[in-house]
């Protein structure tokens, strides 16, 4: 059964203008739904939005209140950056350098097997030099000169803590609220809950990069941006570092775009005929998705073409910006995606796992990430986009204030995984700039002021997006799941 519905004159006009003769003689019979979804790609994600990009019609009643942030850029630092060498200045460490860290701190704590059975745990002082920066006087080490310059834009949370001592579970915990794979990631929750805003791009994009030396990388599992038990259309679309940024994006050789258009028109027409016969509404979704695929074939290359960026902008992100798949490249991509109203942009950078190469690898790692991260903040700010974009920078845990390895073997110094306290920064929409929040003890070992659990952090991100994390649940296998599991409190003190 065909849905015979007259088109609104304006729709008809738009149809004519945008896609001349698209359905040829079938135009009269186009289901209103199909046409609606072609004209309004927001329908594609299954979650239409109103013109303000706020409320959705998906029956979830979201957002719960006016959001501060429209979108999130999460610069995830895989491997765990050393908080004591970068942001959490502890003069005590140099005083205690070479001395065994007090047993009162380490007894009963879990570390990875790399130091779990090591009995000597000498403190080592920071390998960098710290200074205070900006009006806020935030402590930043000289490994991060560009970040130091924008310290007044940032809100450092210095009392973060987590539960897992290994990478994959800890990253999964940060991104999905559970150590075991299988739950939806933060970006999936948000795109599911808040609906679609991007016109011709996916609403949740993930990108990955690693240190140039590839010294010690962790694998990027696709469940880091997976949709878990939410429908798969809410999973992050991974933009690749090489080749087509989206798999199978390019038409086969010998099928130019004009020809693709004509073939698609035929497919859509034949599908319409089938719909007339079968009445299955999924056919209309299919038509819309083929149209979206076609749009992405145009929008993605345009997105990745940096030739319209002025030189001073490119310079700001650093020389790596031209190397596809580098962190700098991904940061600029993040800004371009944000401009195109992509809701959740997840850039993951690996290589922070300095078990045996702290003295030379940490600085390389900082060189790769410092300028691009700072450039992204400045770039968003000058475009007025920092006001409604939330930027997050941080890893899955911190690193031990004590040494992994032999203190005489300076070249192989390292620090082990440290979930008990670490630092993360946020900036932009709804977050107080120039704030250092929370504190660790004098060894940078445990939090002493306002500890912030991963679920608290997640609750806060949700809050900034206009969502009460306790109310936003999805029923699966008989249980109502939420990103923050059964915990989490919004860290109100950091909200502007």
């Amino acid at each position: 059964m065909m849905i015979k519905k007259m088109l609104h004159p304006f729709q008809e006009y738009q149809a004519g203008m945008t896609r001349r003769n698209f359905f040829g003689k079938m135009a009269q019979g186009i289901g209103a739904m199909a046409l609606g979804s072609i004209l309004n790609p927001h329908i594609l994600s299954g979650a239409p939005t109103n013109p303000f990009g706020l409320a959705t019609n998906n029956g979830l009643g979201l957002p719960h209140f006016t959001p501060k942030a429209k979108r999130v850029i999460y610069l995830f630092q895989n491997g765990a950056p050393s908080h004591v060498d970068l942001f959490d200045y502890k003069p005590m460490l140099r005083k205690w350098h070479g001395k065994q860290i007090p047993d009162s701190l380490t007894s009963g704590k879990r570390f990875s097997t790399m130091t779990g059975e090591q009995t000597a745990r000498p403190v080592i002082g920071e390998i960098s030099n710290f200074a205070q920066h900006g009006q806020s006087g935030a402590w930043v080490s000289d490994f991060m000169p560009e970040t130091a310059k924008i310290a007044d834009e940032l809100c450092f949370i210095k009392s973060m803590y987590t539960e897992s001592v290994n990478h994959a579970p800890a990253i999964t915990f940060f991104l999905t609220g559970s150590e075991q794979p299988g739950r939806p990631s933060m970006g999936s929750w948000l795109t599911y809950g808040l609906g679609s805003t991007a016109k011709d791009l996916p609403d949740f994009v993930a990108m990955t990069s690693r240190d140039k030396e590839a010294s010690c990388g962790q694998i990027f599992y696709d469940y880091y941006w997976g949709s878990g038990f939410l429908p798969t259309k809410f999973q992050g679309v991974k933009f690749r570092g090489g080749g087509d940024p989206v798999l199978y994006l390019e038409n086969p050789q010998g099928i130019p775009r004009k020809m693709r258009r004509k073939i698609l028109d035929n497919i859509q027409e034949l599908n319409e005929m089938n719909h007339a016969d079968y009445g299955d509404t999924e056919i209309h979704t299919r038509i819309a998705q083929y149209e979206m695929a076609y749009k992405m074939q145009m929008s993605v290359p345009e997105l990745t073409d940096f030739s319209d960026e002025p030189q001073h902008i490119l310079d700001m992100y650093g020389p790596d910006v031209h190397r596809k798949g580098s962190f700098a490249y991904n940061c600029l991509m993040a800004r371009r995606l944000a401009e195109r109203d992509v809701r959740f942009i997840q850039c993951m950078h690996a290589g922070w796992d300095q078990h045996t190469n702290l003295n030379y690898q940490l600085i390389t790692q900082c060189r790769d990430t410092d300028a691009p991260s700072a450039a992204l903040i400045k770039d968003l700010k000058q475009r007025g986009m920092l006001e409604d974009t939330l930027v997050i920078w941080g890893g899955e845990f911190g690193r031990t204030p004590f040494l992994q390895g032999n203190i005489k073997d300076v070249r192989n110094w390292g620090r082990d995984h440290h979930p008990y306290v670490f630092t993360l920064w946020m900036a932009g929409a709804g977050v107080k700039p120039g704030l250092s929040y929370g504190a660790s003890d004098e060894f940078g070992f445990n939090p002493v002021e306002v500890p912030v659990h991963v679920h608290d952090f997640q609750a806060t991100v949700m809050h900034l997006m206009g969502i009460d994390h306790e109310q936003f649940t999805f029923k699966h296998q008989g249980r109502r799941y939420r990103l923050t599991d059964v915990d989490g409190h919004v860290v109100k003190d950091i909200l502007s």
């Binding site: 990875s112 299919r286 992405m296 649940t473």
Partner: protein
């Protein structure tokens, strides 16, 4: 205002009492009450409400239970509450039941559910609870825990329609909901539907023709029998079981080493093709190694429980990995056979289902007895089944024994060389700490856990320092290396075994491997809510497997029927395929599910018989066409007044493209193959450590089932498939632009279009016939005049284009590695390649209608 209502209600009370209502209700509840069915059923109406809104605080989990009140067991809900002296529920007396007064309360301190819970009850739900109490508050065991029974077939009005027993149950529901079944689908539609459902491939035009022309009354049944007997049947259903079994060809995690599990995959195909009864299929996979006189094939079947991911990432703690693997086995068993989500009970008593944390660890104990230790390296982690010939096996066993002896000597050596406190690793000796330039992590490892290469590093290091020690190390290295070489050229499947000295199982506090609660040793047993194990048999993994498929155990047959049902009708009779617990969905056709479950057991757990029954039904044979009226009445097709139109799984889409083009290499089993994959996928995922070496020739065109599955990054041509990280029973079916890009642009599909075009050109001699043939190959039907004219116009346009642009024609025709037929006209061939790609992308082609 409240007072007024109370007074009015008081005045009305006499009237209400007469009208059958013993309690005053606000208007909206009263309205809802009027609309309720005559008889409230505990399982279908009441328990879902109690479970969803109350059990979180008043359910099985002792640790979070509030006010010491539980509403999930019969004794408790009718017993006096000690503190207040009142009763949660008094049969027949809502006004005396605390449960009712609390849900009607307007006092925020008293109302249930509490405002903080973020839960609430609708007027209808409140009315249900009231009416249930009024009607005597009958309590029943959760439906899925009761033994299924065959009920008598319902009587139906339209006695002409049913073809077998399934139809009586379906029609009964349709008639009581004022719905009519749809007409039977066309023969073309039916043969395509059947071919995909039973064999995972479409029919050939010749097969369609033969079926259409066969007017005999048993033509349909003959077709069904042929498809059930085809070896493709085993391949089609093996895929589904591989998703359940989280099968992959690598470990997952960092390193992601390749393993040899594919002989087990071939065992599965064979089991399906030989129609192994499902109870035997279950017992062999869960406990084949424990069968009396277990054959290598029985042991091979147990690879099922070693298919889980295995973490050998640097820094992981072996015991943690081992425990996580046991968790996986418990939970996979829960999902695949019991339809119960067990994972909550790892850390605490289940919030909803009557599974305590202790019971979880009782199941854990069954799977806790293998010699797997959690450590190890590579993709061949013991216990292993070596499939090499006897001579090679002997050689390898001899080597292992010899190596063990040598390693013992190393142990003795290091004990003297690196003095340290008892129990500490060699690296903690002060002597070891003085060693410069040696990775301390090697000496940290126990001697029998060091990798082959580490022995070489050690021997090199000590060459100038301690000759005797170095020589011994060199010897270990050499022997280990020979063993490794023999192993790498052997097929060694990871399987299950049973320790002679059993491990003691403890409850792990909050699921932490390092937090055993040592006060109580846990012994293997099944959950108390289900029937007990037989008393006279030895209790071990084999007993558990037999119990799972015993007559008394109510879940396995229901869960299995339901899982398979979804592949024929788009969803299960119980929509939550993975959850038959109290929070799961209720069956849409409970009597049908039970009838099928009992019938399945009574008939030797015969899957082919079950599938035949399903596809022979009139229910299955309906058309999937849907009117607007029906769509409005039953958009989800719960009542089955039509067949369900379904997008083919992505693996079937690829198989279809290969098959209709003529590319498919139709052979069964063997090593996994590596077909086309865009460049850089593996290397990006593994930091350049692993490069995808695409196969050549026939290997490119095997069924998708045989594609090598790297667990951290599965085959890229798939979408919506289970990720094979954990057991998955529910099929996903989404619709995204990325799917469109795959079937439009993936080299597999373009090459298939090219070869399909070649066959079409050679097979038929004019455009109309060719277009018809191509269309028919993909959809099983002839295009109508309008469709044909559209294709003809496009063909003409394509010919024009490719005549003018020969380079594009050449470019298109050289996609893929299959040889190009130079005898064909280049322009024709390119135009038809584009047409075939168009046809392979039609919604009708990618769906089974």
């Amino acid at each position: 205002m409240v007072k007024e209502i109370k007074i009015t209600l008081f005045l009305l009370c006499g009237f209400l009492w007469l009208s059958g209502c013993g309690i005053s209700m606000p208007d909206e509840i009263e309205t809802a009450y009027e609309a309720l069915p005559e008889k409230i059923d505990f399982n279908f109406h009441v328990r879902p409400i109690l479970s969803d809104r109350c059990f979180n605080c008043h359910g099985p989990d002792e640790n979070t239970r509030k006010a010491n009140l539980r509403l999930d067991v019969e004794e408790a809900i009718f017993s006096k509450i000690t503190e207040s002296g009142s009763f949660p529920v008094v049969k027949g007396k809502p006004e005396k039941s605390q449960l009712i007064s609390r849900i009607l309360s307007e006092d925020s301190d008293l109302i249930m559910p509490t405002p903080e819970s973020n839960l609430s009850l609708s007027p209808e739900e409140k009315a249900i609870l009231i009416k249930w109490v009024e009607q005597g508050a009958e309590w029943k065991l959760h439906w899925a825990y009761t033994v299924p029974k065959k009920v008598e077939l319902p009587t139906v009005k339209n006695t002409d329609w049913p073809k077998n027993k399934i139809d009586y149950f379906v029609l009964d529901k349709l008639e009581s909901n004022g719905l009519r079944p749809s007409e039977e689908a066309s023969k073309e539609t039916l043969i395509r539907r059947l071919s995909f459902d039973l064999n995972g491939l479409p029919p050939t035009p010749q097969e369609v023709e033969a079926f259409k022309n066969n007017a005999s009354t048993n033509a349909y049944e003959k077709l069904v029998d042929r498809l059930l007997a085809s070896p493709r049947y085993g391949e089609r259903w093996a895929w589904e079981w591989l998703d359940v079994a989280r099968y992959a060809d690598t470990n997952g995690f960092q390193g992601d080493f390749t393993r040899d599990m594919w002989p087990w995959r071939d065992w599965v195909i064979k089991a399906f093709n030989e129609n192994m009864p499902y109870d035997e299929f279950t017992i062999k996979q869960l406990a084949g190694d424990l069968l009396p006189g277990a054959t290598p094939e029985n042991i091979l079947a147990t690879a099922f429980n070693r298919n889980h991911p295995y973490n050998t990432e640097g820094g992981t703690i072996p015991e943690e990995t081992r425990v996580v693997n046991v968790f996986d086995r418990v939970e996979t068993t829960g999902t695949a056979w019991l339809g119960l989500t067990m994972n909550c009970a790892r850390c605490h008593d289940h919030k909803y289902d009557a599974i305590t944390q202790k019971e979880y660890y009782q199941l854990f104990d069954y799977f806790n007895q293998t010699s797997e230790e959690g450590g190890g390296w590579g993709g061949k982690i013991k216990p292993l089944l070596n499939l090499s010939d006897a001579e090679k096996r002997q050689e390898m066993e001899g080597l292992l024994e010899y190596i063990d002896g040598l390693v013992e000597q190393v142990e003795v050596f290091e004990f003297e060389k690196f003095p340290r406190d008892f129990g500490l690793p060699a690296s903690e000796s002060s002597v070891a700490k003085e060693l410069k330039g040696l990775d301390p992590r090697i000496l940290l490892k126990p001697t029998d856990n060091r990798a082959t290469g580490e022995f070489r590093v050690l021997s090199e290091y000590f060459k100038k320092k301690d000759m005797a020690y170095a020589n011994l190390l060199t010897d270990v290295f050499a022997k280990k290396k020979s063993y490794d070489e023999l192993a790498s050229s052997s097929i060694m499947v990871m399987v299950m075994d049973e320790l002679e000295e059993p491990r003691t199982t403890y409850i792990l506090d909050r699921g932490g491997y390092n937090n055993p609660m040592l006060n109580e040793a846990i012994c293997m047993d099944v959950p108390a809510v289900l029937p007990p194990l037989p008393k006279d048999e030895k209790n071990n993994r084999l007993a558990l497997a037999k119990w799972l498929v015993s007559k008394e155990q109510p879940l396995t047959s229901r869960v299995t029927i339901n899982r398979y049902w979804q592949h024929f009708f788009g969803k299960g009779i119980v929509k939550t395929i993975e959850d038959f617990g109290v929070q799961g969905a209720l069956p849409s056709h409970p009597e049908l599910l039970d009838w099928l479950a009992v019938d399945f057991q009574e008939n030797n757990w015969d899957l082919k018989r079950l599938f035949k029954k399903i596809v022979m039904s009139a229910t299955y044979r309906q058309s999937s066409k849907v009117s607007e009226e029906l769509l409005e009445k039953d958009s989800e097709n719960t009542y089955l007044a039509r067949a369900t139109r379904m997008r083919l799984p992505s693996w079937m889409l690829r198989d279809q493209a290969l098959y209709v083009s003529g590319l498919l290499v139709d052979s069964i089993g063997g090593r996994p193959v590596k077909p086309y994959q865009p460049e850089g996928i593996w290397s990006e995922a593994t930091f350049g450590k692993t490069i995808y070496q695409q196969d050549k020739g026939d290997a490119l065109y095997r069924r998708s089932l045989y594609t090598f599955w790297r667990r951290i990054v599965g085959p890229t041509f798939l979408f919506d498939n289970a990720s094979r990280q954990l057991s998955t029973v529910k099929s996903a079916n989404t619709n995204t632009p990325l799917h469109a890009l795959t079937t439009l642009n993936d080299i597999t599909y373009v090459e298939a279009s090219r070869v399909m075009a070649e066959n079409v050109l050679l097979e038929k001699n004019n455009d109309v016939k060719r277009l018809q043939y191509a269309f028919e190959k993909a959809t099983t039907r002839r295009p109508d005049a309008e469709e044909l004219s559209l294709l003809k116009n496009r063909l003409a346009d394509l010919r024009n284009y490719y005549s003018a642009s020969k380079e594009d024609a050449l470019a298109l025709n050289s996609i893929g590695e299959y040889r190009t037929n130079d005898s064909l006209n280049l322009v024709d061939h390119a135009a038809y390649t584009a047409i075939c790609s168009l046809i392979l992308n039609l919604d009708e082609t990618i769906n089974r209608q």
